[in-house]
């Protein structure tokens, strides 16, 4: 597999509701204001489904996954 999936937060759109961190605590921490801090932007294969769910849960569509071909 030469594809990796990476997480990206659109900081302008994000309203810090922290839903993504509830669904993907492995990769997302929250700062003291409730805004997400990505511990690691690369999504390991075993977390793909969880990442997809976190992306779908964001109420303002601020969380994205990008497919990077390397």
């Amino acid at each position: 597999m030469s594809r990796t999936r990476t997480l990206r937060v659109d900081r302008i759109a994000c309203t810090g509701q922290g839903l993504c961190a509830e669904l993907l605590p492995e990769l997302i921490d929250l700062d003291e204001w409730g805004y997400p801090v990505l511990k690691d932007t690369t999504v390991p294969d075993r977390l793909r489904a969880h990442a997809r769910r976190a992306v779908a849960a964001c109420p303002v569509l601020a969380l994205h996954t990008d497919d990077d071909r390397t």
Partner: protein
């Protein structure tokens, strides 16, 4: 058993049941949507679960709406064509009251489709359409009250009252939590949540709860003829 319970074909009952369940589910969906928008912090479940429930119940609403519409169209008594399921106000049976339901369904379909495509549409366009759900809910309520042959049953009235109370309470909770700004939006919500119960009560008292409603709703004798 009232006389109402002795009339109508099984399909009509299925349609009534499907419609009532759809209204209950739609009410739950709306309340959950308001709760997520107001950043409710439930203690026992995660906040993301509000969103997941909101989505799943909305899909379930559509399932029951399909049952509701298909059984109503197949019911031999009311003679509805398939067109009434999407084109409002063209029905031969209680055209206005049935048309409200059709209009509500159209709005909900628009909401569902745009939600499925929300990543491609972007937040603004998606949310703009999503607000239509707030219009669909009262349409569904008045459709149920005006079209349903069971509106006079106490249990049915309690169900409607319960749905109305829940949504009004949710909107007021949201208004209390809302910060300053968006004055027009908040005013609209406050006026609407006051007006809908008043109008509904007045409508019930003057329409469906009075004798002869089925004639006035421009139907043939549904209470007497039943489903044959």
């Amino acid at each position: 058993m009232t006389t109402l319970a002795l009339t109508g074909s099984p399909l009509w009952y299925a349609s009534r049941a499907g419609g009532t369940l759809a209204l209950l589910l739609l009410t739950a969906t709306v309340v959950l949507g308001i709760a997520s928008g107001g950043r409710a912090r439930p203690r026992r479940i995660g906040r993301f679960e509000l969103g997941v429930l909101h989505r799943n119940l909305s899909l379930l609403t559509l399932v029951f709406l399909v049952v509701h519409v298909v059984t109503a169209v197949l019911d031999p008594f009311v003679h509805l064509g398939w067109a009434v399921s999407v084109v409002p106000f063209g029905a031969s049976y209680r055209p206005l009251w049935l048309g409200l339901g059709t209009a509500g369904l159209d709005l909900l379909l628009a909401v569902a489709v745009t939600s499925a495509l929300r990543r491609r549409l972007g937040v603004r366009r998606w949310k703009a359409v999503h607000w239509l759900a707030y219009a669909a809910w009262p349409l569904a309520l008045f459709h149920g009250v005006g079209t349903g042959t069971d509106t006079r049953l106490p249990l049915q009235l309690w169900l409607y009252a319960g749905c109305l109370g829940t949504v009004v309470a949710a909107v007021w909770w949201r208004l209390v939590k809302a910060g300053p700004g968006r004055v027009a939006g908040r005013l609209t919500a406050a006026v609407a949540t006051t007006a809908v119960p008043v109008v509904l009560t007045a409508f019930l008292a003057s329409g469906p709860l009075q004798p002869g409603w089925s004639q006035r709703a421009a139907s043939t004798a549904v209470l007497l003829g039943g489903g044959r």
